[in-house]
């Protein structure tokens, strides 16, 4: 029983961490071109392209 007092907040904070990571990934436009990202990874002899931010 007492263990729940530690485990439940622990689970929660991990979940919050994931939520924060998801928010960050939306803000950095990682879902704008899912298909392109899947194909770019195969293209190796190139320095990373300039990511236009904005």
């Amino acid at each position: 029983m007492n263990i729940l007092v530690i485990l439940v907040p622990a689970a929660l904070s991990l979940g919050l961490l994931a939520l924060a990571a998801f928010f960050w990934s939306i803000r950095s436009e990682q879902y704008d071109d899912p298909e392109g990202a899947a194909r770019r990874i195969l293209d190796d002899d190139k320095p990373p392209a300039d990511e236009p931010r904005g």
């Binding site: 029983m1 729940l4 439940v8 689970a11 929660l12 979940g15 919050l16 994931a18 939520l19 998801f22 928010f23 939306i26 704008d32 071109d33 899912p34 298909e35 392109g36 194909r39 770019r40 195969l42 293209d43 190139k46 392209a49 300039d50 990511e51 236009p52 904005g54």
Partner: protein, 733 residues
């Protein structure tokens, strides 16, 4: 159309973007950007090829390919010249087209996704706690878990349920009921009931149901938003067809600019070659014009002195002078736009299927809950308990599956069409196109496209050089030259310093010598001027568009009567109609006559599919039950049509009808799932057997079933690749 901003005001000196491209340039504080639709990005290698070529071109323009949307976004600081990057792409054999994708951030969409994320996070954690309670936790443990669930669920609900509550309040304020009213009521009541039980220290809580419900419904909302956003992006603004300013000829021979709206009849205006005529007027001396905007036929037309020229006509020779006969608001172009607007408003759009469902659903659910409460009080239950059961009814009947049933199918359908080169403008079009029972086609530009006359032999070297120039032009005739060269698989030489003069042709340099492709000096016919100064006439005729015979045959096989309405001469229409096996055709039809034909058919109860591209088709496209326009159509037609085809084959129109039918079938199946779920859940909950566990299980299952069912519309990747190729294959120099 005087509302359009003057695009010329934003053109920095030395830039040579065509006006329709220039109009879609976005200005940021760090520089400018332009998003182009490039339909022939088909493989992973295209990404590197385009980005590297533009980076290597030294134009100081950054390119970023978006493979999912098949777009290239160019970023540059204000000094650089993006037209160079566009030329680089054309040289590689791609065909970039301007696309007015909304570059202002889609805030509503982002808010929905954030709400979805919060709801998803809370739903997982609350479920974790609830499962423990359902599994048999009791006493202090259950109380502790419930308190924790409340701690997570209440802030999460306050954040994530806002879209529903806002919309429900808006509807109530106007005295209406929408789907969000029962949703909001269920969420709020479930939370309230659960808080009361947590404080009371007894009974099961509905936190889990409330937050899962919010999560699934938000999923539906996000999907719905995606379809709408894509529709909005594919609707191109009525671009700059009428110039925003005109030039008044001053007595001393100079000109002064004047706003379009300030033009009065009787003013003498000057129009330069390549400019559009601002208002209707009479010519002071003869000149030739491209009247394709009005008639759909792109052959130059000679107009004599004193004769009338209509607004929107493109001056091929000039500068010329004309006397205005009408104000801008009364000109031919404005009249046509009015006609189209009126037709759009007159078309009684059948209510969308989801709205119909919502109109029945909300009152029924509320009535059932009320009857349940009254019933239990009569049966001798305490008022508190009766209300709790009624709330359970509201929670369990909450339209989870219903909220997903339509948007999930529409996203899958519009995605399927997008991959086939069909841009759907709104979900309603999908519902309408499925029941068309008659088809009307325009001829020029729709059923036929210009082509070089194959009976006249052209020297391959000349043709190759002409095609190398034509690649850089956007006129349909230029495409005909490129096709003719591609048909003989001629290797194209590299030309430099290409400049397109709208309405005149294309200039360029081949091995240091000036070459030109475009209208002949007298405005009649297409000529190519080679490096040696020789001039070759390239005879242009018309050919049937790819896929047109197959489409007509397929529609006939389905029993759809087919009509061709064309503004062209009778002989030309007769030849094409005979080739396509269409008996019902009419020639020399004006825009107004096309519209009245469509209206007459609608009055007769027919559901007409209109396929057309010219400006004269705009009103008819707007009046049709469903309409399709090819991507090279006039702006007015693209705005009026429900679906814009970016591919070249007309056969894709059939895909649109088929997808519409499949989507309708899936929507009905999804409604059946939702109805089946309610048929089981409502009696159970009214009888007081609805537990939070049952509510969670039932809602999740039905939501997942409808979503998976909708996904059946997405094409399998392999097959899609085989079906995708569009004729314009990248040619590698």
């Amino acid at each position: 159309m005087s509302c359009c901003a003057d695009f010329r005001a934003q053109v920095s000196p030395g830039r040579t973007l065509p006006p329709d491209v220039e109009a879609s340039v976005r200005h940021h504080n760090g520089g400018d950007s332009l998003t182009l639709h490039v339909p022939d990005i088909t493989c992973a290698a295209c990404i590197g090829r385009i980005e590297d070529a533009i980076a290597a071109s030294g134009a100081n323009v950054r390119a970023r390919v978006n493979f999912t949307r098949k777009t290239v976004t160019l970023h540059w600081n204000t000094q650089a010249d993006p037209s160079h990057a566009i030329r680089v792409m054309r040289d590689l054999g791609y065909a970039p087209q301007p696309l007015a994708i909304s570059q202002e951030k889609d805030e509503a969409g982002r808010e929905l996704v954030r709400c979805l994320a919060v709801a998803g996070f809370a739903a997982m954690n609350v479920m974790l706690l609830s499962v423990a309670v359902w599994a048999g936790a009791d006493g202090v443990t259950a109380e502790f878990l419930n308190w924790f669930a409340a701690l997570i669920a209440l802030p999460a609900l306050a954040y994530a349920a806002r879209p529903f509550i806002r919309s429900a309040l808006g509807a109530l304020r106007h005295g209406r009921l929408n789907m969000d009213v029962p949703i909001s009521l269920a969420i709020v009541l479930a939370a309230a009931l659960s808080i009361a039980r947590v404080f009371g220290g007894e009974g099961e809580t509905y936190f889990d149901a409330a937050i899962t419900l919010t999560f699934f419904l938000l999923g539906g909302r996000v999907l719905d938003h995606m379809t709408r956003e894509r529709a909005r992006a594919s609707v191109r603004q009525l671009a700059t067809m009428a110039p925003a300013t005109a030039h008044v000829a001053a007595p001393d021979g100079g000109t002064t600019p004047i706003a379009l709206s300030a033009i009065q009849p009787g003013m003498v205006l000057e129009v330069a070659a390549g400019e559009r005529v601002p208002v209707d007027g009479t010519l002071t001396k003869p000149a030739s014009f491209d009247l394709s905007l009005a008639t759909g036929e792109s052959r130059p037309v000679h107009i004599g002195a004193g004769e009338e020229v209509l607004a929107g006509a493109l001056a091929l020779s000039g500068p010329l002078r004309m006397t205005a006969t009408r104000c801008a608001g009364d000109s031919f172009l404005a009249t046509l736009a009015d006609l189209q607007r009126a037709a759009e408003e007159a078309r009684s759009r059948p209510a969308r299927i989801a709205d119909k469902a919502a109109r029945v659903y909300a009152p029924v659910v509320h009535l059932l809950a009320l009857l349940t409460a009254i019933g239990w009080v009569i049966a001798g239950e305490s008022v508190g308990e009766a209300v709790a059961i009624a709330i359970a009814v509201l929670i369990i009947t909450c339209p989870c599956a219903l909220g997903l049933a339509v948007p999930a199918v529409q996203v899958a359908a519009s995605d399927r069409l997008f991959r086939r080169g069909l841009m759907l403008k709104d979900g309603g079009a999908l519902e309408r196109i499925k029941d068309v029972d008659e088809a009307v086609f325009d001829k020029t530009g729709t059923l036929t496209i210009p082509a070089l006359d194959p009976s006249v032999p052209i020297d391959p070297r000349t043709l190759a050089a002409a095609a190398a120039l034509a690649r850089h032009a956007s006129h349909p005739v230029a495409k005909a030259v490129v096709h003719a060269a591609a048909a003989q698989s001629l290797p194209l030489p590299r030309v430099s310093d290409v400049v397109e003069e709208r309405g005149r042709g294309v200039h360029g340099q081949l091995d240091g010598q000036a070459i030109f492709l475009g209208a002949a000096v007298d405005g009649e016919g297409l000529v190519f001027q080679g490096a040696d100064g020789s001039s070759t006439a390239l005879p242009v005729t018309e050919t049937v568009r790819k896929g047109a015979p197959e489409l007509i045959a397929a529609l006939k096989a389905r029993g759809l009567p087919i009509t061709i309405l064309s503004g062209d001469r009778a002989e030309a229409v007769r030849t094409v109609a005979a080739r396509l096996g269409v008996d019902d055709w009419r020639a020399s039809v004006s825009a107004g006559q096309k519209l009245s034909h469509l209206e007459a058919r609608r009055a007769a109860g027919a559901k007409v599919l209109m396929v057309g591209d010219g400006l004269n088709d705009g009103p008819a496209l707007a009046a049709a039950h469903a309409s399709i326009a090819p991507a090279d159509a006039s702006d007015l037609s693209r705005t009026a049509a429900d679906i814009v085809m970016t591919g070249e084959s007309l056969l894709e129109a059939l895909e649109a009808i088929d997808t519409g039918r499949k989507a309708h079938r899936l929507i009905l199946q999804n409604f059946a799932v939702a109805a089946g779920y309610n048929a089981v859940a409502i009696p159970l909950s009214m009888a007081g057997y609805a537990t939070p566990l049952l509510a969670s299980l039932a809602m999740s299952t039905s939501s997942i079933v409808v979503t998976v069912n909708a996904l059946r519309l997405t094409p399998r990747p392999r097959r899609e690749q085989a079906a995708a190729p569009i004729t314009a294959k990248p040619v590698h120099p």
